[in-house]
Amino acid sequence: MSRLDLSGIDPRRKRTDRLARAALAGVAFLSVALLVALVGTLVVKGAPHVTKTFLTSYPSRFPSRAGALPAIVGTLLLGAVSMAAALPIGIAAAIYLQEFARANRVTTLLRASIGNLAGVPSVVFGILGLALFVRALMLGKSILAAGLTLGLLTLPIIIVVCEEALKTVPRSMREAAFALGASRWQVVRHHVLPYALPGMLTGSILALSRSMGETAPLILIGAAVYIGYMPGGLMDSFTALPIQAYYWAQDARTAFHDLAWAAVLVLLVLVALGNLTAILLRDRYQRRYKW
């Protein structure tokens, strides 16, 4: 960007220009400062309480003995179940919309409903999960019911990022394959998917992070307050880090508030690890393919 020559301009207009620039920089700096302050607070308040006992114990009535082990395992299991449910469907939907769908009313409708679903508040997904998975399909307050609900919640995100990944593969790749007589499916399978895969992976990790951080749907599904055993099967009742933090934060005894800070710090680390991996992967593959 070349510098504007402002030498002949009314000094008042120049001053306004400088003021506006400074004010906007201040606002942008504020956004970053907020993030730093937030993470800093979390580390300061939570880190002293993330002890070995905390990471390896079950919840307890005594704050000094209480731990988040079942919650950590629960969060990881929920992430795995939701991705197992949402990834195949999300990727298939993206391939359909990007590579096969014709521009007609059905496609418009499908796209509109994906856009709409992305904007539905997460607590409403919880209501659906409660009525559909927990009660109508009688899955109970299980990891499976909660995982499916979270899967549905992350589905629009997965579809959108996978479509973006498919879009980055240049047309010429497809056309070259078609010219050699490949069928549409062969083109997708052998020439589009391999290049779009890293992008899809990146997006999926972001979706995983999102599903591990959700709280409201789990409250609706009926996550348990205290789990005194390790969840093993899909039909077991469960708790998760955000839920555990939520109940600890509401406890009248302040010692439990420290545990809530510790729980959200561990949650933030899990989520941030996911996001960081995604960002690093993206950078790495962006450099590998230069179209």
Binding site: T16, D17, R21, L24, G115, G119, V124, R210, I219
Partner: protein
């Protein structure tokens, strides 16, 4: 191929499923409570006898906090977007942009915990506010909506063609005059959509309001008093074990329908506005 199509239809089926679940159970609710009372009643008291289900206090809480959060988040979000798109050096962008993305990825429960254990004590000290109050949640939600507004508004600003800026410079405008009088108006529909989606996000958010706003449905418009939103009522009510078919169970669906419809309408308007912007600049 069929599998691909069916997968793509899941979102549509889910949308219909959500709507039917809400409406069918909501209709059961209105067998026991009059629609008139629900829509215009100003007392929400599901636990007292006689029970009262006037949803206006919940709507008040929802909009009070949603509008308040937007008043905080929109100027910061749009200001950041303008700075990133028009003024920032590449080096600054490379720091600010990921920071905003990371902020977007922070789970809402974390904002809730910060609201109740950090913001609330400050407000108690400074303004003599009670522990639970609308301002706790409003301030935190204001921060939460910054990323979504920044990202969408920046996309809109970047889509404004270079010629518009160059035309303005050619007429002797300064950088700021160009930004404020040419670029921002050209991106106005995208910025409007960003604002709408930020607001929709704020009224749909649950954990911050459940933890920090106080769970008291009132008609007060004060930010320094406890209040309850639709989402907070749903989360709080569902935390217990509700018998299927009871009025308490069904009330979740009734207010859920209202929340769904509000966010649905806002999102549809936002999508429409965005589509218009895209048609304009390709």
């Amino acid at each position: 191929m069929l599998f691909l199509f069916l997968s793509a239809s899941v979102a549509a089926v889910a949308t219909v499923g959500i709507f039917l679940t809400l409406v069918l159970n909501g209709l059961d609710f209105f067998r026991e409570v009059s629609i008139w009372e629900f829509l215009f009643g100003t007392t929400w008291a599901p636990d007292f006898f006689p029970r009262q289900f006037g949803s206006v206090p919940l709507l008040k809480g929802t909009f009070l906090i949603g509008i308040g959060a937007s008043l905080i988040g929109v100027p910061i979000g749009i200001g950041t977007a303008i700075y990133l798109s028009e003024f920032a050096h590449d080096r600054v962008r490379r720091v600010v942009k990921p920071a905003i993305e990371l902020l977007a990825g922070i789970p809402s429960i974390i904002f809730g915990i910060v609201a109740i254990f950090v913001i609330s004590p400050l407000l108690q000290d400074w303004f003599g506010a009670p522990v639970f109050n609308a301002a706790n949640a409003t301030i935190m939600l204001g921060v939460m909506v910054i990323p979504i507004i920044t990202t969408l508004a920046e996309d809109a600003l970047r889509a404004v063609p270079r010629e518009i800026r160059e035309g303005s410079y050619a007429l002797g405008a300064t950088k700021w005059e160009t930004t404020w009088r040419s670029v921002v108006p050209s991106a106005s529909s995208g910025i409007t959509a960003a604002t709408l989606l930020g607001f929709s996000r704020a009224i749909g958010e649950t954990m911050v309001v459940t933890l920090a706003a106080g769970l008291v449905p009132t008609m007060s418009l004060s930010f320094l008093e406890p209040t309850q939103t639709i989402t907070a009522f749903i989360a709080n009510r569902a935390a217990g074990d509700l018998p299927t078919g009871s009025v308490e169970y069904l009330s979740i669906f009734a207010v859920g329908t209202v929340l769904f419809l509000i966010t649905f309408v806002i999102n549809v308007i936002a999508q429409y506005v965005l589509a218009r912007q895209r048609r304009r600049f390709g």
